[in-house]
């Protein structure tokens, strides 16, 4: 009995250590769990294991998990938006523009991939881990490379700011997932499905919070400018979109008002002193896209 109490106290001490100093947390948690198991206290061992998962659930999502989530969301985006538009030259061009912008974005160390969706609607999406999509309809609306670069910059902004991962964290809570990471995704695929479906609904049907959209609008011109594109191209594009969309209620369900977006973009250009470089590269854009879209 005394031995059990001693083991229990030792384990409790280890748990305290693990919560006091997060460094080496996994190792300490594992040691505590093993000690509890060794003392024959399976219940305590289980609690410590759960505690580790709880800590894991509170911590931000790691890149490995982010990639899995990104892939799962990408599967749904492609399925719901007519599949990928199979035009190798245009796909390569969109990837070059996107990766040129991503090269100096605020999260330049991860891979960004871009695909064209075979859909007439005017839209673009970003899934975690840099899976970015633009519709054929959007490309038809764009007039030059600077507009494309800033539109892709907007989507890259969603990834750098981990906007969708925020939704996933909340989606996990709604789905009742206490643990995090790929462990639960593999052990409980149904819970993972619920989490992804919740995030897809938010991304494709309800739209992200307006503050997130406006933050990405700001980043669109900042990231585009860093490469040398004219940031005013994004203003021109938003203005054209306003004319095309008019009072399309479905569109405004997922996006802030154009007047708010234009105000935010123009004030960013002004406040950050972003130069109107005049670099639009309309020829390069039209040469690659003409006759294909």
């Amino acid at each position: 009995m005394q031995t059990k109490i001693f083991h229990g106290l030792m384990v409790f001490g280890l748990v305290l250590l693990s919560t006091g100093s997060l460094a080496g947390c996994a190792e300490i948690q594992q040691a505590a769990e093993n000690a509890a198991r060794g003392s024959g206290n399976q219940r305590l061992a289980k609690t410590i294991h759960g505690g580790g998962n709880l800590i894991g659930g509170l911590l931000p999502i790691g890149y490995e998990e982010e990639q899995t989530i990104g892939q799962a969301i990408a599967l749904q985006v492609i399925t719901r938006y007519g599949g990928v538009y199979d035009q190798p030259d245009l796909t390569r061009y969109v990837n070059l523009v996107g990766r040129a912008v991503a090269l100096t974005c605020d999260r330049a160390d991860i891979e960004y991939r871009f695909a064209i969706l075979n859909h007439d609607s005017i839209n673009a999406f970003a899934a975690p881990a840099g899976y970015i999509f633009v519709t054929r309809g959007l490309l038809k609306t764009i007039r030059n490379e600077a507009e494309l670069a800033t539109v892709l910059g907007h989507e890259i902004g969603h990834v750098t700011q981990k906007h969708i991962l925020d939704v996933i964290q909340r989606s996990k809570q709604v789905a009742g997932v206490a643990e995090a990471g790929l462990a639960y995704a593999n052990k409980n695929p149904e819970a993972f499905k619920n989490v992804i479906d919740g995030a897809v609904k938010k991304l494709l049907d309800e739209g992200l919070d307006q503050s997130k959209e406006l933050e990405s609008d700001r980043l669109a011109v900042v990231f585009g400018s860093r490469v040398g594109y004219d940031p005013t191209a994004y203003v021109t594009f938003l203005d054209r979109l306003r004319t095309i969309k008019g009072d399309d209620q479905a569109f405004f369900k997922t996006h802030p008002k154009f007047s708010d977006r234009l105000t935010v973009v123009q004030s960013t250009i002004r406040d950050q002193g972003l130069k109107a470089t005049g670099v639009l590269l309309a020829d390069r854009f039209s040469k690659t896209s003409n006759g294909i879209l």
């Binding site: 996994a26 490995e64 749904q76 991860i110 860093r226 670099v279």
Partner: protein
């Protein structure tokens, strides 16, 4: 004559040192903010590359000149880098420290991760998700191809150069 030359040389050195030291940027620490960047012997994109720099590398500013910075690397190489390739704050990684810790907490179950995660193809959890959601093989292949799609840093540099973007703008 020799005495006058020596005096002149000392004065020139002092003036040069004063100019360098009074440059407000002198000694400032900056970080490479681009995924990859080139350090050049001069302040134009036509000057030869003296070193290739990686994201997050620490640099000490010697001086600033318009859109270029003369910097010293930790390996002692001096050269010029285009201003948008550096940042005064250290760029964040794919995993920040907390996220990396979260990953380590969960590592006990990492055996379920397939080796292809992060390299090529769908990983186990997203493959399972595809099956459960009735997503066709064609769409799975599309994400697979997207994951594997590669463009080298050299190709991106060539693209920037052709469009006279970034450091090739001058």
């Amino acid at each position: 004559m020799n005495h006058r030359c020596a005096c002149l040389a000392v004065m020139v050195s002092l003036v040069t040192a004063a100019i360098v030291i009074t440059d407000p940027a002198f000694g400032e620490t900056v970080y490479v903010a681009a995924k990859s960047a080139q350090l050049r012997s001069g302040k134009t994109s036509l000057d030869p590359v003296v070193a290739s720099l990686r994201l997050g590398e620490t640099l000490e500013v010697v001086k600033r000149d318009d859109r270029w910075l003369q910097v010293l690397t930790t390996k002692g190489v001096t050269g010029w880098i285009y201003s948008t390739n550096v940042s005064s704050s250290k760029p964040m990684g794919g995993d920040n420290e907390l996220a990396a810790l979260g990953q380590s907490v969960r590592r006990t179950d990492a055996s379920a991760v397939t080796a292809s995660a992060g390299a090529r193809g769908l990983d186990k959890a997203s493959e399972d998700y595809a099956k459960r959601s009735g997503i066709t093989q064609q769409q799975r292949d599309a994400v697979d191809r997207m994951t594997a799609y590669k463009i080298s840093d050299e190709e991106i540099q060539a693209f920037l150069k052709y469009g006279r973007l970034g450091e090739y703008a001058d």
